[in-house]
């Protein structure tokens, strides 16, 4: 009996010490790498943004000028969506956000959308998706130029009722064998533009420096959804 209890104790001790060792190793590495990881993520974000809006058009640190917005009906996710503002001498130039197209063929499509202060699209990119390889993944920039067709468009060009894929009477191409994917992307971009139009003043407000009374430039402001969306096609 005694020996069994002793060997159990030893085993438990060994297991516990290895658990502590493992946790310690992970903790040390985490501390050692977290700054680099954050820097790498920021660099990746900036590289993405600069592909949409040229670097020389703004002078602020975009990754730090951030506003988190919760608006599931418009942005396709319950999670806060970060909005980044690009400014030139404090004046708003463009806005970037990462809304979601929730109705892709196999789940959500994560987008990066850039829009200039005048409401024209600086561009759209796909950050992550699980669409069918070879059919739906044509939305990726490296696979086809389709996603570039959004650049320069706005809610007046084409008019709102033509913000659809061609099959639904709109102006955007669909792909052979995949209509659901481009339809989801077009819908998400249109909803995003509508949201930006409604909240234009607040989203494109000048910086805190030029308008110190504004509390909108602080982080994590929840914009309250103005009204329920009407029927969604």
């Amino acid at each position: 009996m005694k020996t069994v209890a002793r060997s159990m104790g030893t085993s438990a001790l060994i297991l516990a010490s290895f658990a502590i060792l493992g946790a310690g190793l992970v903790a040390v590495t985490h501390i050692g790498t977290q700054d680099r990881i954050a820097a790498a993520q920021q660099a990746a974000l900036e590289a993405n943004l600069n592909a949409l809006v040229p670097e020389e058009r703004y002078d602020n640190r975009v990754a730090e000028d951030r506003l988190d917005v919760v608006a599931p009906e418009w942005l396709g996710t319950d999670q806060p969506v970060p909005f980044y503002r690009a400014r030139q001498a404090g004046q708003p130039v463009a806005l970037f956000a990462t809304p979601v197209a929730p109705d892709g063929y196999s789940g959500s499509i994560h987008l990066l959308i850039g829009v200039y202060a005048d409401g024209t699209l600086a561009g759209v990119r796909v950050l992550a998706h699980r669409e069918t390889p070879g059919l739906g993944d044509v939305i990726e920039e490296r696979r086809s130029p389709w996603i570039l067709s959004f650049t320069g468009k706005s809610l007046t060009n084409p008019p709102p009722e033509r913000w659809k894929v061609k099959k639904d009477g709109g102006v955007f191409d669909q792909f052979t064998g995949a209509t659901v994917t481009p339809r989801a992307v077009v819908g998400a971009v249109r909803r995003f533009l509508e949201y930006v139009q409604i909240h234009h003043e607040r989203l494109f407000a000048p910086t805190a420096a030029s308008a110190p009374e504004s509390d909108l430039t602080s982080n994590s402001v929840d914009l309250i959804e103005p009204r329920k969306r009407g029927e969604d096609p």
Binding site: S11, G22, I37, G134
Partner: protein, 226 residues
């Protein structure tokens, strides 16, 4: 010790983790849609295998028999988490491609298998050699399967290799057929099973032929000449 030759022959061919032991199929199917992905995953797994084997072998006298499996799993999970963070920090571009799959290394039975079958019984150097050999064998299998699927599925080879290996290796990226429409089946998981099946059959044929040649060569000795 000329045993190392045997260890490497085992790892790379005779007892190859994929082609002989049929282990590691879960990460294999997930990542081998291109040769570059296979290579990246293979190298990451090799690093984990090597580190796990060395650590487990050097601590083998401390690890009590009764709790060895949970201890192995703990150590392997810790090592994979380390690999995940290190790749995220220093090879961020690659992480964006492989990041999803790196935690899968924990589920790679080959790592636990080598810890149990080899490293917990053998000295450190031999265990290191075994980890390296098994890892390289696994990498070989992943690159070959990835290459087959990539060629058949999208008519490219080593696309995005410069993300993994640096811009100096951009020359590896080849497009075999321009405007290839793609062969979807090969890119999807069933393609992985098909390619693996054909490669296994090919390996068996090779081995049987070698056996036959061997027995034919030995034949005249057995039956005395008239």
């Amino acid at each position: 010790m000329n045993d190392y030759r045997g260890i490497f022959a085992d790892g790379l061919w005779r007892n190859n983790a994929v082609f002989a032991q049929m282990l590691a199929l879960c990460p294999l199917m997930a990542v081998t849609s291109s040769a570059t992905n296979g290579l990246g995953m293979g190298l990451a797994t090799t690093a984990v295998l090597l580190a796990a084997n060395v650590i487990i072998s050097s601590l083998r006298h401390l690890i009590a028999q009764e709790v060895r499996i949970p201890v192995f799993i703990l150590l392997i999970a810790a090592l994979v988490t380390l690999a995940d963070m290190v790749i995220n920090a220093w090879l961020h571009e690659l992480y964006k491609v492989l990041g999803l799959f790196i935690p899968l290394i924990v589920a790679n039975c080959a790592v636990l298998g080598r810890a149990e079958a080899f490293a917990s019984r053998q000295p450190v150097l031999a265990s290191a050699a075994d980890g390296l050999a098994m890892g390289l064998g696994l990498t070989l299998a992943m690159v070959v399967i990835g290459a087959c699927r990539e060629i058949l599925g999208s008519a490219t080879l080593f696309s995005q290799a410069s993300l993994l290996l640096g811009d100096g290796f951009a020359f590896l990226e080849t497009t075999l057929i321009q405007d290839y429409k793609g062969f979807l089946l090969m890119v999807l998981p069933p393609g992985g099973f098909l390619v693996l099946g054909f490669l296994l059959a090919g390996k068996r044929v090779l081995e049987q032929r070698r056996e036959r040649v061997k027995s034919a060569a030995a034949g005249p000795v057995d039956s005395p000449a008239h």
